[in-house]
């Protein structure tokens, strides 16, 4: 074991990923994996990756360096999956709205470039004289970089839909909300770690990260598996009276 951990620590580390695996199974059984293939793959991959890291930590398997190497490689792959999930959300929002698909695609490409640039600058300005374990320290900077891009893109996604008053379906909103909460909290905690803050209280930041992710998995359970309310599909009739009143008043005004 690399470090002594409390029971709560063990639960928060592995618990959400066991739930994540269970969610993947339930999505498969309900056929939702066809609707959200990237998110489904992300769930499966994340559960497998964290299980391997957990076993390597608890058994222990290999050296500390080996653990961090596996962590870093897994992080890069997981980061790509997370960005692909954002792409999948965007696809779901725009596929039935060709009128803004083109402008939306252009905007998200521009925003991606902006956030990659910002994240690169933030990584470049991170302190280099850290006393931390080198590979572990680099991994924290990589985390900060990936979460900054992801958080920025999800924020843009929410602002874009709010600007055009687009309606999210329940599952898409749940995935977006979960990833939004996770990426913003993780961005803050990894930024503190990458910049050498709270050196003596790192375990608190780890607890915050793990607890947040646990909440996000529960959000996904609710939004993806709870039945969709019928209000989202009920037809709304166009106004009967107020248009006529407006027209009459406007015409009267114009005839004066």
């Amino acid at each position: 074991m690399l470090q002594p951990h409390s029971l709560l620590w063990h639960y928060l580390w592995i618990g959400p990923h066991v739930l994540q695996a269970a969610l993947a199974v339930l999505l498969w059984r309900r056929g939702l994996h066809r609707q959200f293939p990237v998110f489904f793959t992300y769930l499966v991959y994340g559960a497998a990756e964290e299980s391997i890291l957990y076993v390597m930590d608890v058994v222990p398997l290999g050296s500390v360096t080996a653990w961090w190497v596996v962590f870093s490689v897994g992080l890069i792959i997981e980061g790509l999956f997370r960005l692909a999930v954002v792409g999948e959300l965007f696809f779901h929002l725009l596929r039935s709205r060709p009128a803004i698909a083109k402008v939306g695609g252009r905007l998200i490409s521009c925003m991606s470039a902006v956030f990659v640039l910002l994240a690169t600058l933030a990584a470049a300005y991170a302190p280099v004289d850290s006393h931390q374990f080198a590979i572990g320290y680099r991994a924290t900077i990589l985390q900060q970089t990936l979460y900054m891009v992801e958080c920025g893109l999800i924020l843009f996604l929410f602002l874009f839909t709010a600007c055009f008053k687009l309606t999210w379906d329940k599952a898409t909103l749940g995935i977006g909300l979960g990833r939004g909460i996770s990426s913003s909290v993780h961005l803050a905690t990894w930024a503190v770690m990458a910049n050498g803050g709270l050196l003596q209280s790192r375990h608190l930041l780890d607890f915050l990260n793990m607890a947040t992710y646990h909440i996000c998995v529960l959000i996904w359970f609710y939004y993806l598996l709870a039945p969709q309310n019928s209000f989202a599909t009920s037809a709304v009739h166009l106004p009967e009276n107020n248009l006529d009143i407006w027209n009459r008043e406007l015409e009267r005004l114009l005839q004066q």
Partner: protein
């Protein structure tokens, strides 16, 4: 550490915005059951007159430069008010159309999809038009055309009328007030 503070503050802001928008999105979906649609009709002819470049040329020829700038600014403010109404109508129609897309009637669903697309394009155009109007307020002598907003509004009006007739054949729906 300063960088960390900046990133933490930015992340907290992002979290706040995401939570607020997600909650408002859920509430919006619930409110759509009894959506009190409040569409404000626009007098297309008056708006078209307001944005007519020939009118501006006439005023430019007839008025002294400082007086023309003042009048032009007034016209631009009136134009912005019209575009704001068109934008808010587009938002309402996006919600109306999206609620009707899932209708079992294929004709209603098709009309609703058309309405949503037209409303989204109008919403996009109004955003651009407003940006140009506010820019023109700073430089009143510059040329400006909002014709595309008018054309799109008329197209949207037609789509809304089609959906309205399909959903409720007895009631005429108008987005444009015409004399």
């Amino acid at each position: 550490m300063n960088l960390a503070i900046v990133i933490v503050v930015a992340a907290a802001l992002a979290l706040g915005i995401i939570l607020r928008l997600a909650v408002s999105q859920s509430l919006q979906a619930k409110r759509s059951i009894g959506l009190a649609v409040s569409i404000r009709p626009i007098d297309i002819e008056a708006f078209r007159n307001l944005i007519n470049p020939a009118e501006d040329d006439y005023l430019r020829r007839r008025l002294p430069a400082n007086r023309f700038r003042a009048v032009r600014r007034e016209r631009l403010r009136a134009m912005a008010a019209y575009v704001h109404v068109a934008a808010s109508n587009a938002v309402v129609l996006v919600r109306v159309g999206e609620a009707a897309v899932a209708s079992g009637d294929a004709r209603v669903a098709g009309a609703a999809r058309q309405l949503v697309n037209d409303a989204l394009v109008l919403r996009r155009n109004t955003t651009v038009a407003l940006a140009r109007i506010y820019l023109a307020l700073a430089w009143p002598n510059s040329g400006f055309a909002a014709v595309r907003v008018v054309e799109r509004y008329e197209q949207l009006s037609g789509a809304a009328m089609l959906l309205g007739r399909l959903q409720n054949p007895a009631v005429p729906v108008r987005l444009s007030a015409r004399l």
